[in-house]
Symmetry: C2
Subunit: 219 residues, 2 copies
């Protein structure tokens, strides 16, 4: 390295706000901190960025390690670097938002000595560092993206019923959505495709159609 910096350097972490839908509620993945600081409290999954990788690589690593998932949609959210946000010193966090279908997740859980849990968005425990603010910011981003993109599909399996998709939107936006208008909007947007198959769910009523993503631009 032919040039040098006479500057002090921050530690760099990558954190992820991982959303999913469980029980028709929007939930966030949190890990229980074992070590100081904030030992015993809950925090966003994340970790240090290593030299030679970028923050999004680090997020990919974290998601694989702590949630056992690959090929997850995520994007950079914002960098949080207020002085004093970490009592250990100068620690800058590149926060990300990730969306996953909860069915695909296998939390690291007890076997990995990592205590990771889903928490409903409207009943979060106290969070370490400035993670509360990060989660709020992520929620706003998710909501605004949901309104003008097909991002909601990332929270569902590859095929899904129209009602499931609508419940995802309702859970994220925390508001009721008219069934007919929603159906029309989704079909006309071209984002989803009728697979022709129907779900035999054994419930009363006709068997609901199964839809799939149209594998186009999603971001």
């Amino acid at each position: 390295m032919p040039y040098t910096y006479p500057y002090p350097r921050p530690a760099l972490t990558a954190d992820a706000v991982v959303f999913t839908i469980r029980g028709q509620r929007l939930q966030v993945l949190l890990v229980h901190r074992g070590g100081e600081p904030f030992a015993g409290s809950w925090a966003l999954p994340g970790g240090f960025v290593e030299e030679g990788e970028c923050a999004s690589d680090a997020v990919k690593r974290e998601l694989t390690e702590e949630a056992g998932v690959r090929d997850v949609w995520f994007e950079q959210l914002k960098t949080f670097d207020a002085p004093g946000r970490d009592p250990r010193g100068w620690v800058v966090s590149v926060a990300h938002v990730a969306l996953i279908d909860s069915e695909r997740v296998r939390l690291a859980g007890a076997d990995d000595a990592v205590d990771a849990r889903w928490w409903p968005m409207n009943a979060l425990p106290p969070l370490a560092f400035d993670h509360q603010a990060i989660v709020q910011y992520a929620l706003e981003r998710l909501r605004s993206k949901l309104r003008w993109s097909n991002i909601g599909l990332q929270l569902l399996p590859l095929v899904f019923t129209m009602d499931a998709l609508r419940r995802v939107h309702e859970a994220v936006l925390d508001d009721a959505i008219d069934k007919r208008n929603f159906h029309k909007r989704m079909v006309e947007s071209g984002a989803i495709r009728d697979t022709g198959a129907r779900l035999a769910n054994g419930k009363r009523g006709p068997q609901p159609r199964l839809y799939a993503f149209v594998p186009r631009t999603c971001e």
Copy 2:
């Protein structure tokens, strides 16, 4: 500091894409690099973040030093951290977008040994590092914000004519805008206020009204 990190740390810089309107064209502030790497080529204004400050403080410093302006609107854009983006090693940049009225600017210029210049957006020189990509990303952000916010006002002096505001939008979006529809939209949005005064510009035609910001939420 009771805790330590056994991790290598990146250098942290804060860069700014500073937009202005000059000659009815969208322009970007660039500085001529004196030292290696990329000596002699053009780059975004920016510098290292110091311990105890955050990236946005660093941007404020830069804007004061290199453009002689205070109280400038800016926001965080995105963090760029691809390995190899800086030949000196591991350097992470928190990029920002800033908007200023070019009349307020006093470029550092020759007296400060900093060679800073405005460049029209559609005729940029080759840029150092990944700054080309940062500028493109900033332009997209600016355009999308312009469509649904009053951010364009930041590019004008405190009072301005309706035509000036429209030319700002046209310069940023690179598209012609209908005069009447624009006028209606702006007035109805409540973002601007007729000051009652008119501009005596000595040109033919009636004296144009002068408008001012309504000092509300701008972000």
